[in-house]
Structures are given as C-alpha cells and as structure tokens.
Amino acid sequence: MDTPPRQLSGSVCPRLPRGVRLTHSEAQGGWILLAPERVFKADGITVEILKRCTGETNLNAIVDDLARTFAAPRERIHADVVNLLGSLADKKLLELG
C-alpha cells in the first residue's frame, strides 16, 4: 500500500503519549519502545530522535539539534525524522502536539 510522503509542520511539538515509553533492557538487548500490549525494538537513531520528543521542542529545533550533534546534512535528518514521527503517529505511538 502506497501512502503519500509525509508532511509535518516544523512547529509541531512531538511527544510520547501516556502509555508509551522508551526503556533500556539488558535482557532484551537494548532500547525498547513499550506500548499497549506491544514492544518495538528501537535502534540508535530512533532513540536519539525520541529522546528529544519531550513535547517542549518543536520539529525544527529537533532536526537542528540532530544535524548539529551528528554533523549530518539537515535535509537528510529532516526526512528521517518526519518518516519516523509520521509512522509512529500512525500507530498511535506519538502525539504531534
């Protein structure tokens, strides 16, 4: 199923809703996103993005921070962040405040 490329406004303030949290588990081999009756393995990039989704920082600032921290091209980071946040929001794992 093809969905159109995601558009997200730079002013949205994403955050994990109640009932969704990021946790580290040695036994389970790394970072895990806990959600209603499901768990998702979270890779390094996902963790870096989600750590910044506090509800107080907007998308533009998150992308700026990541681009700076990882010395990576802003456009690339922007695309990755929008893809991740969009797919999490579709699964009700993220609120775009």
């Binding site: 109640r18 009932g19 588990s25 040695e26 389970q28 209603p36 009756e37 929001a89 579709d90 009700k92």
Partner: protein, 361 residues
C-alpha cells in the same frame, strides 16, 4: 546456556491471571473448564514478588487478567506492585466490576493501558453472548472513562459465528469510544471455546469476508486507530507461532500460582508444572519440566523437524496438536503440511447455530 537445541531466551511478557472469578459467562473464554477457586488465589504480596522476579528475568510487560481482574479488591495494590517492579501494566478487563472511581485509583497507581472486551456492536447480542444484561452499556461507559482519564484504550472483540458479520460496526464502535487500538480476535479453540466450538465456528465465506473487511477498514482508518487482526488459524495455510514459541517469549501464572508456558498447557498429559509458592520464577523458567518439554526444536517430529519454517512458527501450537491429534509432538494440524490437516478442514465446515454452554464454576 543451551537446552533442547535452543539457547534460553529472556521472556518478554507475563500473563498474570489474578482470579478465575468473573461475572460474565462468555462461551469462548480461554480459561480451563476447571476454574481455580477463590480460596486458592495468590495474595497481594506474592504477586508483588512474582512481578519483581519477572522483571529480573527480563519481562517488560505484565497483562493483568483472569477471569475478571477487577474482582480482586486488592487490584490497585497489585498494579502498584507491577509499577514498583518496573513493569508496563496492561489491564485486560470486561469492565464489569470497574467504576469511574476505582479506575482513577488504578490510573494513580500507575496503570499504563486498559483493554476492554466488547462482545458485539449489537447490544442485545452482546449481552446474550456474555450472559449479563447491561454488560454492553457498562463497557461503553467505562471505556469513555478510561479515555477521559488519559489512559490508552484498546477494544478487544472476540469474533465468531454470532458477530462475524459486524466487523465494520464493531470497528466504528471502537473508534467512537476513543480507542487507539482494536483487536479483531477470531476465537481460538481452547477451554470453554473448545467446548462450544461447533456453535462458535463461522463459515469459510464469513471468514474470507471478514478478512476483506479488515483490509478495507485498515485503509479507511489509517492513522486514526490501529486494527490488529490475524486470520483464524483453522482457515490459514500455516500455523500461528503460538506464544512466540514454547518457553521462549512469555509465561502465564494461574490464580493458584502454577506457571504455564501458555494458558492451555494443562490439557497436555504428563507435564509437570511448578508453582511460584515453591520455586522462583527464574528457576521455573529455566528448569521446570513443563517449560523444558517443548522448548527449542529437538522435540519435533516430521514434517516440522526438517521444515524451513520451524524457527518461524515452531510447529504451531502444542496444545492444539494434542487436542486435535492426541499427540502433543505432532505438527499443529492447522498447517496444510500436516498429514492430519483434513481433520481441521472438516471441523472448520462443521459450524452450526445452537445454544451456548456458558462459562461457570
């Protein structure tokens, strides 16, 4: 550490059956026919210890279930125990027994998520299936309270012959209640559901239509609600990877403290189950005979033993293999590669209308 040809994995989920008491009589209940008595139930402190031991083993989520978990007067203490152990808690409830007040107490105690069962979008049918007049109205009211409290809500709908034609209104109902997720849970035949199989079994045409409906609804409601649905295994080509593999990803503690690899395991003769009153959970997970019995792949017979999918679906369900073929080591006959698959095809077309044997003590 290797056992039975597999290294020991850490469990991810704990199903905590807090009680077998329940005000409803749903004929598809997966609890065993021999329900645990109230007098044998584990106390609050023991559940707290079990949760700590589960977390130490690597468990991340606990599903507080039963019976009806709200029948436990100490439910908020149990929820606190899960929170203190660092576990994510899911309440799996009929909502009958919950009030807005005690729900708020549970939310404060740290409950993470609530799953409410709804028997049908048609209220008269729903109350008939549950054998409880007024259940449907109560569930809808409590569902709204869950959402008002800011807790995520899942609506679980067990689908069978009586309601399989109402997938769309059932999903619409879940949406209207503010659920983030709906489970279209085609009935599985264990416990009371097995006893009532002939009157729960839909037709193949109904199942195919239900599968089409779900796909349409997923597209329509993309981003608004998550629809979890799996093709019922009697109609599938390959078996389900039951509980993610025996003794691999999850464990079940019964109200009286027996630890099972899955909720139906007691139907298999010759298995020895250990109790949390006598053993630590780690000990049980690692060494109890019931857990060792079908962990890994060494126990497999053909066609599973040399099958390319054996590490994907683990030969399907041991309990179902036993219940349908008499041999717990056989391939789950829902698999089209099983020599006994014709049996499942016969059963799948043998549904009929009739009265339920309602769940009761």
């Amino acid at each position: 550490m290797t056992t039975n040809g597999a290294s020991l994995s850490a469990p991810l989920g704990l199903l905590a059956e807090l009680t077998h008491r329940c005000p409803l009589g749903c004929p598809y209940c997966s609890n065993p026919l021999a329900l645990d008595r109230r007098g044998d139930e584990l106390d609050t402190a023991t559940w707290g210890r079990v949760f700590c031991e589960a977390a130490a083993l690597g468990v991340l989520q606990v599903h507080l279930s039963g019976g009806e978990p709200a029948a436990r007067r100490d439910l908020s203490e149990i929820v606190k125990g899960a929170r203190e152990a660092g576990l994510y808690s899911n309440l799996i409830t009929s909502a009958v027994g919950l009030t807005p007040q005690n729900l708020a107490v549970l939310a404060d105690a740290g409950l993470d998520h609530v799953q409410i069962s709804i028997q049908d979008s048609d209220e008269a049918s729903a109350d008939h299936i549950a054998r409880y007049k007024g259940a449907s109205a109560r569930k809808r009211a409590i569902a709204r309270d869950v959402v008002r409290l800011g807790l995520p809500l899942t609506i679980n709908m067990v689908v069978h012959r009586a309601n399989i034609g109402r997938i769309e209104p059932m999903v619409d109902l879940a949406l209207s209640l503010g659920a983030g997720r709906v489970e279209i849970a085609h009935v599985q035949y264990y416990g009371w559901a097995l006893k009532n199989r002939d009157v729960l079994m839909p037709t193949r045409a109904q199942v195919e239509e239900a599968v089409r409906q779900v796909e349409t609804l997923r597209t329509r409601h993309h981003g608004q609600i998550v629809i979890d649905a799996v093709v019922p295994d009697y109609y599938a080509r390959f078996p389900k990877p039951c509980v993610g593999g025996w003794g691999r990803r999850s464990l079940n503690v019964t109200p009286a403290g027996r630890v099972l690899p899955c909720h139906a395991a007691e139907v298999i003769p010759g298995l020895e189950f250990w109790n949390v009153r006598e053993h630590s959970l780690a000990d049980i997970w690692r060494s109890s005979p019931a857990f060792l019995a079908f962990r890994g792949t060494d126990w497999m017979q053909e066609p599973c033993r040399s099958c390319a999918r054996r590490d994907q679906d683990f030969g399907g369900c041991r309990c179902q293999a036993f219940l349908l073929t008499g041999d717990a080591r056989a391939a789950d006959p829902v698999c089209h590669l099983s020599p006994q698959h014709a049996l499942v095809e016969t059963l799948a077309s043998a549904g009929q209308d009739g009265a339920y044997s309602y769940r009761s003590f």
